[in-house]
Symmetry: C2
Subunit: 260 residues, 2 copies
C-alpha cells in the first residue's frame, strides 16, 4: 500500500511526460534532431581539422616536428570521443524502427571507428610529451581523459562480449543481457560526458599553452576558432543528452496509464 | 497501426527498465545516493575553501590585493553552480514523499542561495579583470559560464513565476504549468551541466595561470588539490545525472506494462 501511494503521488509530478503518445510533433522533433546532430557531429571534427591546417601547420609523426604530431591528439580525440561516439549513441537511440541486430551492429561499428582514433590520439600525445620531456598525467584534463579512455575500453569489451558474442547462446543469455542494458547505457553516457569534459579542459589548456595568456585574452582569430570548437562540443553534448533522456519522444512509449 | 507496431518493438528494447517496481534494492540505492551526494556536494565546496586558505591566502575585496578578491570567484561559483544547485536538483528529484509545495519551496530556497553566490562570484572576477586590465569574456570558460549564468537567471525567473506565483490561480494555470515541467527540467539539467563544464575549464585556466605550466606539470601539492576539486565536481555531475535520469529508481514508477 505504501509503495502504491508513493507511486501515485510520483505519477502526478510528471503526468505530462507519461500521458503523451507518439505524434506528428515528435516526428518533426526527430527529423530536427537527426539534421542538427549530423551537422554538429561532422562540423566539430571538420572545424578541428580546419583549425589544425589553418593555424597549426597540419599533421606529422616525426621527431623534429613534435608540434605537428601533437595536432593528431585533439583531432583524433574529438573524432573518437565526440563525432564517432556521438553518432553511435544517437543512432542506437534513434533507429528504433530498424531490426535490433542491425542497430547493435551500427552502434558497434561506430564505436569500432572511435577505438583506433582514441588509441592513436593517446599515443600521439604520450610520445609528444616524452619527446619534449614533459610529465604525463599531471593535469585535470589528463585525469578526466584517463578515466574516459578506461571506461571506453571497458564498455567496448563488455558490450561486444555481452551483446554480440553471447548471441551465440541467444535464449540462455537473454536474462543476463537484459539486466546489463541499463548498466551499459548509464556507463556509456558517463563515458561520453567525461569525453566532452576532457575535450573542453584540453582545448582550454591548448589555447593557453599555445597562444599564451595575452594573445588568448586579446581574442585573436585562432582563439575565437578554438572557443568555437569548444562551444560546438557543448552543443553536441546538449543534443546527445537531450536525445538519450529517459522520458524523450524517441522511445515512442505508449501512453501506458491510459490503455486505448 | 504503424505507431502500435513501432511501440511494441520499442518496448522490447528496454523491457528490463519498465518492468521493475520499487523494491528494497531501490531504497538502499536511494540511501546511498543521498549519503554520497551530501558528502560530495559539501566536500567540493569545503575543498575549494581549504585550497584558497591554504594555498591562495584567503579572501578580500580591496584594490591593493586583487588576487584575494579573485579567490571569491571559484569559491562562490562552485558553491552556487555545484553545491546549492546540486542539492536543489537532487532534493526535487529525491523528496517525492514530501508534500509537493514543500519540495518546490526547498528547490526554490536552494536556488535562492545559489543566486547571490553566482552574482557576487561573477562581479568578483569582472572587477578583478578591470583592476588588472584584463579583457573580459575571451576564454572558452567565460563563454560557457556566460551561457550558464544566463540560463540560470532565466530558469529562476520562469520557475518562480510559473511554479510558485501562478499558484494564486491554481486551477486555471494547471495545464500551462504541467506543460512547462519537462521544459524547466531539461533546461535545469542543461544549466547544471554547463555550470560543471565552466568549473572544469575554469580550474584548468586557474591552475595554468597561477602555478605556471612547469609547476603544474611537476604535480605540486597545490596542483593535486586543484585536480581533486575538479574530479569531485565530475563525481557530483555523475551522481546528479544518474539521479535525474528518466528511467531511474527514484521515480518509483509503477510497472505500467503489467497492471497488477
Amino acid at each position: 500500500m505504501h509503495t502504491r501511494a508513493f507511486v501515485q503521488r510520483s505519477r502526478s509530478y510528471d503526468s505530462d511526460e507519461h500521458e503523451r503518445g507518439a505524434g506528428a510533433c515528435e516526428w518533426c522533433e526527430y527529423a530536427l534532431v537527426i539534421t542538427l546532430a549530423t551537422i554538429l557531429l561532422i562540423g566539430v571534427s571538420a572545424l578541428t581539422v580546419f583549425w589544425v591546417f589553418f593555424y597549426r601547420e597540419g599533421y606529422a609523426w616525426a621527431d623534429d616536428i613534435p608540434e605537428k604530431q601533437f595536432n593528431l591528439h585533439p583531432t583524433l580525440m574529438v573524432a573518437g570521443f565526440i563525432t564517432f561516439s556521438g553518432f553511435s549513441v544517437l543512432l542506437y537511440r534513434i533507429c528504433r524502427c530498424f531490426r535490433r541486430i542491425y542497430v547493435k551492429l551500427l552502434h558497434a561499428i561506430f564505436h569500432a571507428l572511435a577505438f583506433p582514433c582514441i588509441v592513436i590520439g593517446f599515443l600521439a600525445v604520450l610520445d609528444y610529451h616524452n619527446k619534449k620531456g614533459i610529465n604525463n598525467f599531471y593535469s585535470l584534463h589528463s585525469w578526466i581523459g584517463f578515466v574516459a579512455m578506461g571506461l571506453f575500453g571497458l564498455q567496448y569489451a563488455v558490450g561486444f562480449f555481452s551483446f554480440l558474442l553471447l548471441l551465440i547462446c541467444n535464449k540462455g543469455t537473454a536474462g543476463f543481457r537484459a539486466s546489463l542494458v541499463p548498466v551499459h547505457a548509464a556507463f556509456g553516457i558517463l563515458t561520453f560526458v567525461l569525453g566532452v569534459a576532457a575535450c573542453l579542459t584540453g582545448l582550454t589548456e591548448k589555447a593557453i599553452f599555445t597562444l599564451g595568456s595575452d594573445t588568448y585574452a586579446s581574442m585573436s582569430q585562432e582563439a575565437i576558432v578554438m572557443n568555437a570548437i569548444g562551444m560546438s562540443v557543448v552543443a553536441v553534448a546538449v543534443l546527445v543528452l537531450y536525445t538519450v533522456r529517459g522520458t524523450g519522444g524517441y522511445r515512442l512509449r505508449p501512453a501506458a496509464q491510459h490503455p486505448s
